[in-house]
Amino acid sequence: MIVPAVISLAVLGLLFGGLLAFASQKFAVDTDPRVEQIRELLAGANCGACGYAGCDQFAEEVVAGRAPLTGCTPGGAKVAAEIAALLGLEAPEETARMTAQLKCVGDCNVAKKRHDYLGVQDCKAALMYGGGPKACAYGCLGYGNCVRVCPVEAITMGENGLPVIDTDSCIACGLCSRECPRGLIDIVNARGVHHVRCKSQEKGKQVRAVCDRGCIACRLCVKNCPVEAIHMDNNVAVIDSSICTNCGTCVEVCPQKAIV
């Protein structure tokens, strides 16, 4: 009883094993070993910041020469140099570490509301319903689309209705920036600490009418900046983080506390 069972199973197993071994020889597909090696080097978050569908495809495209060496934003300069070394190319120039920053301070305590919204808890849906519940046409809607798209969970929803970005774990993939229907998240140089947290292009009076902290274009920060890193752009002050020395003067002089 036991003998035919053992024999038949062993024969079948051998048969299938042989078939698979034969098939793997016969149908072998040549793959570039460098693809696998580069795949190992990448950050591996599958975030899509490079513009390709995941790390695997990016690795293939890099080997094929269609994707830039610096394509992997989360990996930064280190990964770019490693890829260059592997492919025998010159290492690209050092690029600065980037991070996402929210450009709005209009939390539920300071921004006025125009109406209540009880629909789908989604920024884009809220925006479609009469331009969103907030009176400011530039402010953060606060339904957390950025929180949901972040591949590394670096964004959390704060207590007062504004997302909080953990710049240490942010990999600057830019998904939140693309997701935000109001374009309030910028990918900026990570060494800049202070940013003008407002994007309202309205004149001061209109800004005051809808928000207690929005930029009113008073130019005090521009005048007081010791290194002239701040300029006005459509009624909003903008800090150039490549020049900014993080001295904090603008934070002190801003009457609206819009610079944080």
């Binding site: 299938f16 078939l19 698979l20 808890q121």
Partner: protein
Amino acid sequence: MTSILVIFFGAVFVNNFVLSRFLGICPFLGVSKKVETSIGMGMAVTFVMGLASLATWLLEYYVLVPFNLPYLRTIVFILVIAALVQFVELVIRKISPVLYQALGIYLPLITTNCAVLGVALLNIQLKYNLLESVVFGVAAAIGFTLALVIMAGIRERLELVFIPKHFRGVSIALIIAGILSIAFMGFQGMM
């Protein structure tokens, strides 16, 4: 011909593999988040289940029955399904990279899909002939795809509605699956 049609529609609707026989629940919950991926999974399952029905039927009636070894059925079927899926994966990868990309990770996942083993064992239990077995296998997989796509469609909408915190994720999916299953019970006795 009528019996083939009865087998086909019976397997797709009346005895739907997922919603009536409760086979293949793991991919049903795991791969039903997007309609697109659920269709991919469905295609791969249909392909494998049709082939598995054919292979296991041949094995049963040309190996197990003549050698008087029916008690080895389950383990032999597992063996043949696993080997078959691997083989098919190798072949597809060589012959059609496009199809390989489309089926992607789902193909190897099917190795452990209990619906495939289920269809192979049911074919023997129900004493189907070769043609009926293959039709039953393909129909069962189409039923599986149907359930998967319906589920994915519902879950895509669930993403946008307010769900109480404790029901989010798998719990609401299981509740929906239960309601779907009750709905499919309406087909019972129609054939």
